[in-house]
Amino acid sequence: MDIVFLARLLLLSVILIGLWGVLYKKNLIMKIIAMDIMNTGAISLFVLSSWQRSRAPVIADSTVKVATSDPVPQAVILTAIVVGFSVLALLVVYVMDLSRYFHTLDTDRIQERWKS
């Protein structure tokens, strides 16, 4: 089989594993780590889609045409990397604040104590 197809299947399964962690893990820190795994899978999927078994998209001479990787998915996903870092920092700090208030990280216990 094609190596690109196999890598794409691997990255899609990484995204699904991250989604499983976000949905079914009870600990909030584990949920955040699973969300970061999902983020990494999506970023790698974009990088894979620009990969063409060729060199980096830096053009030394604009008159000689050589095959390079596609720069568009890489430039698009650069935004997602920085925004992912920002969201991760904000989530970690918010979970720290929640745990100081509820003295636990378990979602079920937080739901119980939220009512009372």
Binding site: R8, P71, A89, L90
Partner: protein, 225 residues
């Protein structure tokens, strides 16, 4: 509120359907190498990725650094709540560790300068340089005496500098949008490509200072140490 069935199973099934769809669609190769050459020739710089995110998608980058800024403000707000700060002495006092950390900080600061300066000619650019700059600053704050450091560098200084560098990025972006661009230099020269080297350096300063402010907030927090 009580949901009759487990909604998580529905989410997971929908995700599997989308993943199967993404796995079987073919990867088109249409007009890719042509795109890269067109973009590089239009922007006048060799690195096409930088050309896209600082010329074709400048609106996107402008508001992306604003998202970064706002999230750092929010994180520092949560960290500063209830005044749980304490300045500690230096975490590492072992002389061998201090020498190794100083070397690492120097190396990553030099690599940050190189990445920011030639980000439009080689792989690299503003965001990578910013992360390297922030790393060097965090290593330096780990080994230096924070009580001594806070005498001439307050905790709020990196955050304020970061916010003001966003104003400069906004001003240069507005200059680019109104087509007030310095003359193009020689292809592959250090001063070529209009405002792009300037924007690279400003983004590096902004991302580095933001990372440093956030890490100082985490380091000074009582909850961790």
């Amino acid at each position: 509120m009580r949901i009759p069935f487990d909604i998580r199973k529905a989410y997971f099934a929908a995700a599997i359907v989308v993943a199967v769809f993404l796995a079987i669609i073919p990867d088109t190769e249409l007009g890719r190498e042509y795109n890269a050459f067109l973009i590089a020739a239009k922007a006048g710089i060799p690195n096409t990725v930088t050309a896209i995110y600082l010329e074709n998608r400048l609106y996107d980058t402008m508001f992306e650094v604003m998202v970064f800024s706002i999230s750092i403000t929010g994180a520092l707000y949560f960290l500063k709540k209830e005044n749980k700060f304490q300045l500690h002495d230096s975490l590492f006092t072992d002389p061998a560790t201090i020498i190794i950390f100083r070397g690492c900080a120097m190396l990553s600061f030099l690599s940050a300068c190189a990445l920011a300066a030639v980000g439009h000619l080689s792989p690299g650019g503003g965001f990578a340089a910013g992360v390297a700059f922030g790393t060097s600053m965090v290593i330096q704050s780990l080994i230096s005496d924070r009580n001594h450091l806070s005498n001439y560098l307050s905790m709020e200084r990196p955050e304020k500098l970061e916010k003001s560098s966003w104003i400069f990025i906004l001003a240069i972006s507005l200059l680019t949008f109104s087509e007030i661009i310095p003359p193009d230099g020689v292809w592959g020269n250090l001063l070529s490509g209009g405002w792009i080297p300037m924007l690279n350096i400003l983004i590096a300063i902004k991302v580095g200072l933001g990372t440093w402010a956030l890490s100082l907030g985490f380091l000074d927090h009582k909850w961790i140490f």
